[in-house]
Symmetry: C2
Subunit: 487 residues, 2 copies
């Protein structure tokens, strides 16, 4: 059984039955059987299906928000907003489907005079086939069963088998119901979306290894993501694995910005690093602050802000254990100073005190412990001469985001830093904070490894649909037999 | 040393020095050092570079054609045409570069009234970084050092380290010179393209494993391609591996077409299967002919056409050995009948007699030996009731192409068959032959595994550029610091 636990109190509700590997294989077989029927629905029906799912989620808002709050401790305000984002992205993909240009139609007319003669060629992107979706613990709605990976795969015309995260089994079950209702309403196959629930590694392995699965989308930790990536690559028929594995999201504060508005930046950073208890993949995990008095003042402001924070509830006990061991390892690095919220952390439930480690740049890059993602309300402040930040940044691995805080006097500094960050990250944030990922056409949520396992693609924003489409070219095929998009 | 051998005669020319794994690593480091300089050339200069390389190849046409013919035996006519295709694709990519739309710019303006507020977001595709290109034996020009993978990677703005195929070392060296000359001419970095030569597996492994390599493009056998794919996936930082591994390219002949123009189809198929000595990745390797008298007549026409063919020169001894062992294995399958060209095959040199195996559909799918790609002038004819072809086709693995020959009376039959083939193949050919791949925007050369290792992408046609680009989004970055494409 998978337990439904309130991390604030340890209270439990009705547990959920865990799927077996055989259940997973059966689900994939049903997804395969449903694949052609779903792919061949008119685009208007596919769009209606996504909108009906959004409506069904909306209709069940009270229960969904209450359940997600119970299972995560993140509060009803957060889930009222996250549900809006979730339905918003389903509707955004419905619009994309209806427009049809995602199908990438290219027509090269016959040219008998060419050398060699060119036939009539019509290219179309078609759904790749059933997609396996792995959902993370931290966004039970927007990245959950009804989240962006599911929405983009369904929009592409693929059936989906989605594994609910064991940290919020009832939230997963409730959101999955919306797709069952939507399928009935528009006449899509019953097995267009199937939920499996699992905690055991064998369940995840079964989903990656099922022969009918044609692509995997994953949001989660680097450790688990890499294990599953390796499995996907080792299949007899390897399948694309779109993994979003997390990121340090470094922030660089320029000297002029620190001087002009250091206190504001400090306040904004502390708010961003503790949003959702610091459990965002775009949390600013590392902040480069210039050495010298203006930088000292920024750090002092951050320390003061952290000191007054309330304890943060974490999603589950596993994350708490993991965070505590990372904190202990970082604390053990020589030359690190630690600042922590002064309030007492409750003994019961899964809480963590917001905290910062301050360290010089050489120690930071020499210490693997400090460079680990501390998933929770913890960031590392790195003191570094502003002129050395561009060179230091070359030491980073791939990142989802990188942020620059710069005022007019920092432009020369930023001009040197920017190209290094473009090499490393999928999104560059200017005078802002990396948390908050708008679901719009120009968004990119991805980056060089390990931020993602495939830097060509995004998991947020409407271009995410491209991950689940493959081209087919029809050469001289008569109009009567062409897909309607090509005629 | 890598020997330069004429497969018709065994004559040898000046051998070429083999690169060591250390040489490969040094080449990749130079490609890394050149990467930013090359990427930041104005698009007009990048386009000029591709055109200058095409011009330099053209200027050296006589030597290139003579050398490629010497090293492959495929004849000067073939290489005069293949050189035109090679320069044509470099120029087609130059046009793509100049137009600039390949950069996939998307601008979502700020929307402060949205919930949550949306910042200004500008998305751009940027070069992924140095690309390792593995070239095959069968197209020393169009898929060689100056071929489509190189052209698309350079067009994307990536520097390239290309491994020449050991079957034609001097052809590789001659074509690489064009890029050195072009770099000098337009002021691109000297190390924009670097050629390494290798026969030892360690050379290939070094190129896949070099940390500076950001993507691999490969054309070659399923066996070697899978080995290198596995290496690329096992890197500490995995990189995309775009492998084109070959295909059976099944052809399906309808009963009405067989009846109306069986002799023409037979003639066309035999010409297609022996083009370039049958050493095309799109060779029709398996032909489904309906059972019954009209199908019998098609097979008889094919047998008669094959009987009169000249021996075909193969590219090298390794391919000859491999083909002979596949022929022996297919001949050993019970129920197979073999038809072969009647002329005596020369003892010297690397020759093969064009040949066909005829077998019933159950034996075909039950015999792994028959389903192996026979790289050379050999095809398998499968006798199958026309009504059973659609179901039989579900047994195929992924294919580059699938072909239907149908007349008006076959339309119902074709309507059932077509969706099965769309599931299996990257290109559907109607009443034509799969050999011949036009380099145009609507072309797709790829397909589900093992036709390619990544069915989302093509290695021929102008959309091949997308393999080497990754998105970056600039959030609220001031215009002065934005790449020029975004302002």
């Amino acid at each position: 059984m998978i337990h439904s636990i309130n991390p604030r109190t340890g209270d439990q509700r009705q547990p959920v039955q865990e799927s077996s590997p055989l259940d997973v294989h059966a689900a994939v077989e049903r997804a395969e059987a449903a694949a052609r029927g779903y792919a061949q629905l008119p685009l208007a029906t596919r769009a209606a299906f996504l909108r009906a799912a959004a409506d069904a989620l909306e209709a069940n808002r009270v229960a969904i928000v209450e359940t997600a709050d119970f299972e995560t401790g993140l509060g009803p305000a957060r889930f009222n907003s996250e549900l809006g984002r979730t339905t918003g992205q389903l509707r955004a993909f419905a619009d994309v489907v209806e427009k049809g240009s995602f199908q990438g139609v290219i027509h090269t007319p016959a040219d008998p005079a060419a050398t060699p003669p060119c036939p009539d060629l019509r290219r179309l992107l078609i759904p790749i086939g059933p997609v396996g979706v792995f959902t993370p613990s931290n966004f039970p709605l927007a990245f959950g069963v009804a989240g962006g990976d599911t929405a983009s795969a369904l929009a592409a015309g693929c059936t989906v088998v989605v594994k609910g995260h064991p940290s919020h089994p009832n939230s997963s079950a409730l959101t999955a119901q919306a797709f069952v209702a939507a399928a009935t309403q528009v006449g899509a196959p019953d097995d267009t979306l199937t939920l499996v629930q699992g905690r055991a590694p064998e369940v995840s392995q079964a989903l990656v290894n099922a022969p009918g699965i044609r692509a995997i989308a994953f949001t989660g930790s680097e450790r688990v993501g890499r294990l599953l990536y390796d499995l996907a690559a080792a299949r007899a028929e390897p399948v694309p694995f779109y993994g979003e594995l997390g990121s340090l999201n470094p922030v660089f504060v320029g000297a002029a910005a620190a001087s002009a508005r250091g206190a504001d930046i400090a306040k904004g950073l502390v708010a961003s690093m503790t949003l959702g208890s610091g459990q965002f993949c775009t949390k600013p995990g590392v902040v480069f602050v210039p050495t010298g008095p203006t930088g000292d003042a920024v750090v002092a402001s951050m320390v003061a802000a952290v000191a007054t924070l309330e304890p943060a509830v974490l999603l589950n006990e596993g994350l708490q254990t993991s965070l505590n061991s990372k904190i202990a390892a970082s604390r053990g690095v020589s030359g690190v100073s630690e600042s922590v919220a002064t309030v007492q952390v409750p003994d019961a439930g899964c809480f963590a005190a917001p905290r910062m480690f301050v360290v010089d740049v050489r120690t930071f890059f020499a210490s693997p412990a400090l460079r680990e993602e501390h998933f929770g309300p913890v960031s590392i402040v790195v003191r570094c001469h502003a002129d050395e930040m561009a060179v230091a940044a070359t030491n980073f691995d791939g990142q989802l985001t990188a942020t620059i805080h710069a005022d007019a006097g920092d432009l020369e500094w930023a001009t040197k830093l920017l190209p290094v960050l473009v090499d490393k990250a999928g999104r560059i944030v200017w005078n802002g904070y990396p948390t908050g990922v708008s679901v719009v056409p120009a968004m990119h949520h991805g980056g060089p490894y390990p931020a993602s396992t495939n830097s060509l693609h995004t998991s947020v924003g409407t271009t995410a649909i491209r991950r689940f489409l493959r081209p087919v070219t029809f050469q001289d095929v008569p109009e009567a037999l062409l897909p309607s998009a090509l005629t």
